[in-house]
Symmetry: C2
Subunit: 328 residues, 2 copies
DNA sequence: TTGTAAGCGTTATCAT
DNA sequence: ATGATAACGCTTACAA
């Protein structure tokens, strides 16, 4: 920058002003400075800039597991919209390990990051308390916490369940199974309740013994299917709280000679790409991933500008994706 | 840091020395300083540190597409081992767009990043030239470039093809199809050549008309299958250069009433998790993702320390994963 | 409109 | 072993 100033015959503050076009600069000098910048191939040092202006132009994204496809959607869209705003994304995988999580958050704090997005932070995680002591904005994505006064972006999980219940019962199914996520997670309970209410619209009951608790994973679909085979009676429709689980169920039914959707309708949740790469393709419920992450980033930026948030808790809408794995 | 110094009754340089334990410090003062650090809950500012020491303790990872699972493996393992070294990972998705790519690299340069890993950089990408003008270490991962003097970590793609060819021909298959990746990519050509040579071990020929060019994607598997159906004769084994493509083929064969592996053996490449989540599960070839990325990070760190690299080009070994989609 | 200079929070060099 | 101080590269009052 000194070089640029020297070459252009101006002071470094003028150079700075040209770069950030803060206050007006004579057209002539601006031209000279810009040429000098090009000549010495000048690149501002973002560390120095960040040090001075207390903003590293970075957003941190915390996910519990990179390999689950739902998280890769968030990673992708987060990177995309962060980049579009001229910032960079620092990614951290916590594997649900509070220690790793704390270490990562700590490094973000030390980097004076502009904001942090947590996707599916654990309920018992105490990093939020740490963060509240700093002035770093953060948003919790996809998993509502018990506490209400934290900026949050979530899917309407009750609605998702309702849509699934309504759809399956409208199809004429009477014996319906729900394979949930871990029931100590609020979102699983909300989906389940919505599902119940959706079924009820068509006078269908969901008895306790047809609720199976899973963990969103593939294996838990296999296990659930095995459990069902040992029942005296098979269901005619199944909704799983995750596509992965639904696919596990579907494969295990195929493996045992059942046909989907002729023998049983199967429906998932999340609309991961794998849902389309099946035969039959999987009916599911889509989450507006991009919209959710953009809303979250927006909330971060608002907080940084000290603008008030319109809402502390933004709730977005799921939508039904009908494919081949469900039928009458 | 000033506060810490004041509280401990020492100078800030002593505080710095305690933190980095550079040169010896009296046991007594160290204790006092450490206590003061705890008391004021002091966190070093990484931007300032980076500015001074010209190292932001960050590694950049450039991928062309986050949603492809092979890349998510690299992202995951990169984050993991970078974090283990006390650094952070900045992730950039270029979507094969040279403009985006250049913008991202530029921001990394301005951040004085410690090193950059490119996974599957485009051959025509000119960012490497830009980087060569800086002193930022970089490594090309997974796609060898024409140029030889660039630090590279690759899979032995010829070997991967050879393994596939040898395995399928040993199974007794005679009519074998290969669905390649884009043939203007070196790695596809190497895999194809290896496959040819592997088949030849058992006197099997791979005629030109049984080589179909794909693009590693799911749809290209569907398309290839359709193309095969229009042949007068179906193959008895197929190897695709990507699991996604193999799965596309498999689904399309199922959809048309064929049984895998009874009617046709299908084999993929990459060992993505979806390969296990099929019925039948997919035989494939594994890449040592974690080892590859760790090697790459290692090369970055070596370059930063100005240690010479043992090898400019590290080649790692693929391995056969036999599952259910192949048989005699 | 432009320049001077202080300061951001560190590390590193030099004395002491 | 410790302290004072310059320097890293930038932004921003304040002055001119």
């Amino acid at each position: 920058m000194k070089d640029v100033a020297k070459l252009a015959g101006v002071s470094i503050s003028t150079v700075s002003r040209v770069i950030n076009n803060t206050i007006p600069v004579e057209e002539e000098t601006r031209r000279k400075v810009e040429e000098a910048i090009r000549k010495v191939n000048f690149k501002p040092n973002l560390l120095a800039r960040g040090l001075r202006s207390k903003s590293g132009h970075m957003i941190g994204l915390v996910v519990p597991e990179i390999l689950h496809q739902t998280f890769t959607y968030w990673i992708k869209y987060a990177e995309e919209s962060v980049a579009a705003k001229g910032m960079n994304l620092i990614l951290g995988n916590t594997q649900n390990d509070p220690d790793l999580e704390e270490r990562f958050i700590d490094s973000l704090i030390q980097r004076h990051i502009d904001g942090i997005i947590f996707s599916r932070v654990s309920d018992k995680s105490h990093v939020l308390h740490i963060l509240e002591k700093t002035d770093i904005p953060f948003v919790v994505l996809d998993r509502a916490l018990g506490v209400e006064d934290v900026p949050t972006v979530v899917l309407d999980n009750y609605k998702a369940g309702f849509i699934a219940g309504e759809y399956l019962s409208q199809l004429g199914h009477r014996k319906v199974v729900c394979i949930t996520g871990p029931l100590d997670i609020g979102l699983s309970r909300e989906r389940l309740q919505g599902f119940r209410d959706g079924l009820k619209e068509n006078e269908i009951d969901l008895p306790e013994e047809w609720i199976i608790e899973g963990d969103f994973g593939y294996q838990s679909g296999i296990d659930a299917a095995q459990q069902l085979f040992s029942h005296r009676e098979l269901p005619d429709a199944i909704w799983a709280h995750s596509d992965l689980t639904a696919i596990g169920v579907m494969n295990q039914f195929s493996r045992n000679g059942y046909k989907v959707p002729e023998d049983v309708s199967i429906m998932g949740m999340d609309n991961i790409s794998m849902a389309e790469m099946k035969y039959p393709t999987l009916t599911t419920i889509d989450q507006p991933y991009r919209e959710m992450i953009e809303k979250a980033i927006d909330m971060i930026i608002r907080q940084r500008k000290r603008e008030p948030l319109e809402k502390m808790r933004v709730v977005l809408e799921p939508s039904l994706i009908v494919r081949e794995s469900t039928g009458e």
